[in-house]
């Protein structure tokens, strides 16, 4: 067999999460990813995927970028860097958004967690961003935020564990002092995890209910062991990818990057031109809003068994009109699904297109996103 997947080239020194030894105990298959040695799977992508959809799974995502920012007007300062209106964020609320360059290209996607005002009268914000972009984000933030703000990069010092699935909250609850059922979707709190301080947010990248928990390394190790004992399935990056794709969540560097704007990426719901003032990239987004975008990211479902993959051409009338950015067999639906950029006039739900796979054309249809929607996510 000859491999056609993208292989990461091992580099001299890869980072290891504090949980690295625990992956090995759990029989993980470990691969280089974004400069880290990460588990791609434990028991297998399909059983791990199913565990998250039906029960609970946990992912070590300590490789992700984590920034704590505090100061007089952090929210106002961040408002300049993102297209979303952050001014209405209440303490303990969060907003998924993107950092934009002057061309409105996406520097990264991230979640802004507003933690409120501390005793010194300073606003506190936590940002969680992608692993591969951590250094780039830090440089961008430091260059574009007032130097009066206190900026802390927690990335190398904290463990971040995502606990996801319909049973995730009740199983995690046994390790947490505060009542997690009172936390709204995208809500968060500073709480007590196994007697130690932790940051807990009801967010995730799987399309299921659950929390992301940030703690010190030793607490992270203890939490992993406790959750493993309670029956939570350890899950790797493979299942994380199939889960997020079913939920039609963008993967940075693949579905979105500095050459795509949020309007092209069908992230218009986080662009609030009418609700806020100037921000980097605004001019380009105003034009795109006025005149429309030439291409859009759409969801595709394959008609047959063939699987559309990253970089496969999208055809219409035998001509290449676009490209697949992510594709897989959806374990939940049993159908091949994909995200692809296509011309806006071919982006309507129900549009027939073809995907070129090994020099042959296979029928795909534009479908609504997400491909999968959990019925278990509470609307509090």
């Amino acid at each position: 067999m000859t491999n056609h997947s993208e292989e990461m080239h091992p580099i001299a020194s890869l980072f290891r999460s504090p949980l690295y030894d625990l992956y090995r105990e759990a029989q993980a298959r470990i691969v280089p990813f974004s400069g880290w040695e990460m588990p791609v799977q434990y028991s297998g992508i399909l059983p791990e995927h199913r565990a998250v959809r039906e029960a609970a799974g946990m992912f070590d995502i300590s490789h992700m970028g984590k920034f704590a920012i505090s100061g007089a007007n952090v929210i106002d300062a961040l408002q300049q860097l993102v297209p979303s209106d952050l001014s209405h964020l209440q303490p303990a609320e969060a907003q998924y958004t993107v950092l934009l360059n002057a061309q409105a290209g996406i520097i990264d996607d991230l979640i802004v967690y507003y933690q409120g005002v501390d005793t010194k009268g300073e606003q506190r914000v936590m940002l969680i961003a992608n692993a591969a972009t951590t250094i780039k984000d830090r440089e961008w933030l430091l260059a574009n935020l007032p130097s009066s703000l206190n900026f802390q990069d927690l990335s190398p010092t904290k463990v971040l564990l995502a606990v996801q699935g319909p049973q995730a909250v009740s199983l995690l609850q046994t390790c947490v002092q505060e009542d997690l059922s009172q936390v709204k979707r995208f809500g968060h709190l500073e709480g007590t995890v196994l007697g130690q301080p932790g940051f807990l947010a009801r967010t995730g990248y799987t399309g299921e209910d659950g929390f992301e928990v940030m703690v010190d390394p030793q607490t992270g190790i203890d939490l992993w062991r406790s959750l493993l004992n309670s029956g939570i399935t350890p899950c790797g990056l493979g299942a994380r990818d199939t889960l997020r794709l079913e939920a039609a969540m963008a993967l940075y560097g693949q579905d979105i990057d500095e050459t795509t704007t949020p309007l092209e990426a069908s992230l218009g719901w986080l662009v609030h031109l009418d609700r806020k003032g100037d921000f980097i990239g605004r001019t380009v987004l105003e034009k795109q809003k006025q005149f429309g975008v030439a291409r859009k990211l759409v969801g595709l479902q394959m008609e047959g068994r063939n699987i559309a993959r990253h970089d496969y051409p999208v055809l219409f009338n035998q001509e290449k009109v676009g490209v697949v950015t992510s594709g897989t067999l959806s374990p939940t639906l049993g159908k091949a699904i994909a995200l692809a950029y296509v011309p806006t006039h071919l982006a309507k739900t129900g549009q027939d297109l073809d995907i070129e796979i090994r020099q042959k054309a296979y029928r795909a249809i534009v479908v609504k996103r997400p491909f999968y929607k959990s019925t278990a996510i509470p609307i509090l």
């Binding site: 067999m1 000859t2 997947s5 799977q41 297998g44 992508i45 399909l46 993959r309 067999l329």
Partner: protein, 129 residues
């Protein structure tokens, strides 16, 4: 899990095997390949009557994450295709040397397999990986 390497097969270092019986070769992929791939979700094989050329791609196997070309260990004509595996490729993992065979090929020149690996050669190659 200990992987099997049946003695009666000829192996390619790209993880295909051939089992010869008269002038018919049964072609499949090895237990090691199945283990490395993980969950197999797609299989594409040539129609009966197609010609296979040694060393050339004859089909595709996909896991959730990976796409792999299948390389022909021997030239010949496809006389049978394992359609149940095409329909349910996840079952291939259960018995890659038996029920999980891929093609039966009528071949002309058994010496094409002279350069293929024996079970022990293949085993030492992959377990050294």
């Amino acid at each position: 899990m200990a992987l099997e390497y049946p003695e009666d097969l000829k192996y390619l270092d790209s993880h295909e095997y051939a089992r010869l019986d008269g002038d018919i070769a049964t072609i499949g992929i090895t237990a090691f390949a199945v283990d490395q791939l993980g969950d197999i979700v797609f299989l594409e094989l040539p129609d009966v009557g197609s010609a296979l050329t040694k060393g050339e791609t004859f089909g595709t196997v996909e896991s959730v994450k990976a796409v792999e070309d299948l390389n022909a260990p021997i030239s010949g004509t496809v006389i049978e295709r394992n359609d149940p595996m095409v329909e349910a490729p996840e079952q291939l993992a259960e018995d890659p040397y038996g029920e999980g065979w891929l093609l039966k090929v009528k071949f002309e020149d058994a010496s094409e397999l002279d350069s293929a690996l024996s079970a022990s050669e293949y085993q030492s190659q992959v377990e050294g990986e």
